[in-house]
């Protein structure tokens, strides 16, 4: 019996080489199981104790024509023995299951990096499907890279010679063979995946057997050193002490919405229309019925927000989630929630736009439309998640603001956060501070449906409460809730709605400054750029740059104290995956500072190197002038 534990494996004469961090990208056809392969590698690395970050990159089409470039699905992860913040700029290793996957991804591979290719998928027809005029394995495309050629189809067929599966089904085990190979190279244990396969195919023992065999065969192929020059090890990371789990953004967000409703003492009712990349929030919540979660899959985006508003009107915490196009459709109903001052959480998992845009690609371009994009003067607080591991916290925060201020709240996420995974240091549940809602149940002498408390919030009355019958609606109203076209009343109500949203700033912390208190440059970010900006600023600081960093989580209203912080720096660099939306906002809200936008809208996250270069460019430009 061959041992399957990396540590027990014979290592031969070649020494085991230690690495701090490795970036691997798995790429193949969208039917090749690359997301599963990536997720398994992630899971195993997390259980092993590495810090990690992932970037799934898949096509919008469920199954684009096999072997074509549009059908390429990728999964990149960085795992490390040190604290890391990003899935890595350029992969050290590219695993390409076919010519299309190779051609789409080779440009991002590090110079001198390793390419593992499935040579069985480079036949004439495969090259044609991938629109390759010549074979990239022979035409010089791969010059300067270390190419490891593996005839994966053949080896899988050999390994599974005794399996009762059809040849076609045998070939579907290719991804586990590949995974096994990479496990050997990076000294990962096989057990987590072997166990996962057993659970996954509980009732199909032949599939468990075949995939486990393929995984072991891949591992052993590396083990007997017929393919690689040696093995690497990425030791455990020294993470902050605590209990961890690996989590994806949408998954953590869903749990946060449940927690937020519980902390408010309300029933969560999530109404949504499926849309990429927000659908998995609906799916996650639908699976949480034992936690008292009610989900409604609505007939369209407008129905989804309207039902959520109806739920809040009824005394539950209404929630809805969508992506950009859905946000556009929900606009009028957001105005209704603002006008009737009902709590509501609206999740926007941003994706590249305009219109349908690029549904599976990342962008931060809904910022200004979230803050301002409704008819009339219609202010609403906007909170932005930065990473999978803070989605739980900020989902709770959105719920808190919604109920304490009787307002709809937009919770911004994006495709990078939604589908990215990282270790999450689990919160101590006793530290979660409840914010129980007090419904108004009795008519006091001064009761008015649109009266105000210290937060400028109106009372929340549930239908069914005797003696407090009243009507609400989207027409302008007096504090009595009766329709009013009185000019002074409309001025007063408009002012009140704005003052209330501005007042939310009193309840949020001033963002922490990372780096020196003052200097030449402050890098301000928001949303999913946090990891990249952290690493870039730390790199620039090590190289001697006078730069600090600050990350915004409450993007509307902006927190107090920014003006003072900005004034301690010569200028403020604002990198964003949009056309300078936060820069625009900061210039308007905090005039008098030099705001330098830096923007990228390729559907891909910034590279750390791009940010470092820009920091150094901005600093140099002002030194010479």
């Amino acid at each position: 019996m061959t041992s399957t534990t990396a540590h027990d494996a014979p290592r031969g004469e070649l020494p085991l080489q230690q690495l701090d961090r490795v970036v691997i990208r798995f790429a193949g056809d969208s039917g090749d199981g690359m997301q599963i392969t990536g997720n398994q590698f992630t899971r195993t690395s997390a259980l092993f104790g590495n810090d990690l970050a992932t970037l799934p990159d898949f096509p919008a089409e469920i199954r684009a024509p096999a072997g074509t470039r549009p059908g390429v699905s990728g999964f990149q992860l960085q795992f490390s023995s040190a604290d890391i913040h990003t899935p890595g700029d350029a992969p050290d290793v590219l695993v390409a299951m076919n010519p299309a996957a190779l051609m789409v991804n080779i440009g991002s591979l590090k110079r001198g990096g390793v390419v593992v290719v499935n040579t069985d998928a480079f036949k004439e027809t495969d090259l044609k499907k991938a629109k390759c005029d010549s074979n990239p394995l022979q035409d010089g495309t791969l010059d300067g890279y270390r190419v490891i050629e593996v005839d994966i189809n053949t080896r899988v067929a050999e390994a599974l010679a005794d399996s009762p599966l059809s040849n076609r089904d045998k070939q579907r085990c290719k991804n586990f063979y590949t995974l096994g190979l990479m496990y050997w190279v990076y000294s990962r244990p096989l057990e987590p995946t072997l166990e996962w396969l057993e659970a996954k195919f509980k009732n199909k023992p032949e599939l468990v057997e075949a995939n486990q065999t393929a995984l072991r065969a891949g591992y052993n192929a590396g083990d007997i050193r017929e393919l690689f020059q040696g093995q690497y090890e990425v030791p455990k990371a020294t993470l902050e002490p605590g209990t961890y789990r690996n989590v994806m953004g949408n998954q953590a967000l869903a749990m946060g919405l449940v927690a937020g409703a519980k902390l408010a003492g309300l029933e969560p009712i999530y109404c949504s229309y499926p849309i990429t990349p927000a659908s998995s929030i609906l799916e996650s919540l639908a699976a949480l019925k034992t936690f008292g979660v009610v989900t409604i899959q609505s007939e369209d985006e407008i129905a989804a927000i309207c039902s959520a508003i109806g739920a809040s009107f009824g005394g539950a915490l209404g929630m809805t989630g969508t992506s950009g196009p859905g946000m556009a459709l929900k606009g009028e109903a957001m105005g209704l929630a603002i006008s009737t001052e009902l709590p509501l959480v609206i999740v926007d998992v941003q994706r590249a736009g305009p219109s349908t845009g690029m549904p599976t690609k990342v962008e931060q371009s809904d910022l200004l439309s979230s803050i301002f994009g409704r008819n009339g003067d219609a202010p609403m607080p906007v909170v932005a998640i930065s990473k999978p591991s803070d989605a739980f916290h900020f989902a709770i925060e959105a719920c808190r603001i919604a109920v304490q201020y009787m307002t709809p709240v937009i919770l911004l996420s994006d495709n990078f956060i939604a589908n990215g995974a990282e270790p999450w240091k689990l919160p101590d549940m006793d530290d979660l501070k409840p914010f129980p809602v007090q419904f108004t149940t009795e008519r006091t002498e001064d009761f008015e449906p649109f009266g105000r408390d210290e937060n400028l919030a109106r009372p929340w009355v549930k239908p069914g409460t005797p003696g407090l019958e009243s009507r609400i609606g989207g027409l302008e109203k007096a504090p009595t809730s009766n329709i009013s076209y009185d000019p002074d009343n409309h001025q007063a109500m408009t002012d009140l709605r704005h003052a209330k949203v501005r007042k939310v700033a009193d309840s949020i912390p001033t963002p922490e400054l990372h780096g020196p208190d003052a200097g030449e440059l402050l890098v301000v970010g928001w949303g999913s750029t946090v990891g990249i900006l952290t690493q870039a600023v730390e790199t620039a600081q090590r190289r001697g740059a006078s730069v600090s960093r600050l990350h915004l989580t409450h993007v509307w209203p902006l927190p107090h104290g920014l003006d003072e912080i900005f004034s301690r720096f010569d200028r403020v660099l604002v990198p964003e995956m949009n056309v300078a939306q936060m820069a625009y906002l900061l210039r308007a809200e905090l005039p008098g500072h030099e705001i330098v936008p830096f923007n990228k809208v390729t559907g891909q996250p910034f590279l750390v190197a791009e940010i470092v270069d820009e920091i150094e460019r901005v600093l140099a430009a002002h030194k010479t002038s």
């Binding site: 605590g242 961890y244 034992t290 009610v294």
Partner: protein, 338 residues
């Protein structure tokens, strides 16, 4: 059935303190009157009653009822009511809408609330015209309707609201007339007794933009001969002298059809019939000057109720697996300690 409650409230108790602002002579007054009276007579609890509306003349309705009310946005009242009923299935929810609100901008939501069979009552005021936007043709206006936006006449075929509802798998479909308080009261009662979505089309006069559009059928003088009341279990008989009847035929060029006959040959009306086909035929008779316009109950069948099913899944999950603890949720999956 529960005991008949002794009415302790009067019609006045259901009137809010707001001045009613429909045009003098508007059919909406008669409907408001009938509703307030029905609420008092049926012993309704104002605290437990919610009127939800969209946009349009009819949608001002909630402001005039001394109950809970939500005047929402154009066409979306069914969607708002869905969330409300799921949050609190015990509420007695009434949706007030018009032909434009329900069948143009809100057509999608109307179809879906009907197929879901939410336990609410929908009152669709059909005056075949846009009132609040000052007189454009609506999705129920006949072909050739000349209005400011259609100076040469409308070219699109109208919806028949009752057929739309039947096609959307409505479990209760009825039609009544604003001028007939007695019939309206009877229809409201039948609708309220039905569990699931009750859809009532109310032919309603817009005295400004479509005055007396229905007078050829509902005027007192012609009403007995031009309308037929669909009474459950009773023969389909009408006419001032009750001599005319309707029956169903199958075959020939018309396929399944309804035709006039003598009172003796009239078919008995069955709104509980499994098939909605006969109801669909009757609902389509409004355009045929040879046939009477049916009022009363087209369909009344039982089906599972949406909010009950949604909540039952949550209750069942908790009953079988136990109530989830937040900590167990967060600390689930593969966790490790550093």
């Amino acid at each position: 059935m529960t005991d008949i409650a002794t009415p302790t409230r009067t019609k006045k108790d259901f009137a809010s303190d707001q001045e009613v602002r429909w045009c003098p002579g508007c059919g909406d007054y008669a409907i408001l009157n009938a509703l307030q009276k029905y609420m008092a007579d049926s012993g309704a609890d104002p605290a437990n009653t919610v009127f939800v509306s969209g946009i349009g003349c009819s949608s001002r309705f909630p402001y005039y009822m001394n109950t809970y009310g939500f005047h929402t946005i154009h066409g979306r009242a069914p969607a708002v009511a869905t969330g409300l009923k799921v949050a609190n299935p015990d509420l007695d929810v009434w949706i007030v809408t018009g032909d434009g609100d329900a069948l143009s901008i809100g057509g999608n939501h109307l179809a879906h609330i009907l197929r879901r069979n939410l336990d609410v009552n929908i009152l669709l005021f059909n005056n075949e015209i846009y009132g609040l936007t000052k007189g454009q043709y609506s999705p129920t206006s006949p072909v050739g309707t000349r209005k400011k936006s259609t100076p040469m006449g409308s070219v699109d075929r109208p919806f028949e609201p009752a057929q739309f509802a039947l096609g959307s798998q409505a479990t209760f479909v009825a039609r009544t007339i604003d001028q007939d308080q007695k019939h309206m009261a009877k229809t409201l009662e039948a609708a309220a007794a039905h569990r699931g979505t009750s859809f009532i089309e109310i032919l309603q006069n817009c005295v400004i933009f479509n005055k007396d559009f229905y007078s050829e059928t509902v005027d007192r003088k012609v009403r007995p001969d031009r309308t037929i009341d669909l009474a459950p279990g009773e023969p389909l008989v009408y006419g001032a002298d009750r001599s005319k009847g309707l029956r169903f035929t199958l075959g020939g060029d018309t396929g399944f059809a309804v035709e006039r006959c003598s009172a003796d040959d009239a078919a008995a009306w069955q709104p509980q019939a499994t098939s909605p086909a006969a109801a669909f035929l009757l609902a389509g008779m409004r355009d045929d000057p040879e046939m009477p316009v049916p009022i009363g109950v087209f369909r009344d069948v039982a089906a599972p109720i949406y909010e009950t099913g949604v909540r039952a899944q949550v209750d069942d999950a908790i009953a079988t697996k136990g109530a989830g603890d937040l900590k167990d949720l967060v600390y689930s999956g593969e966790i490790w300690t550093v």
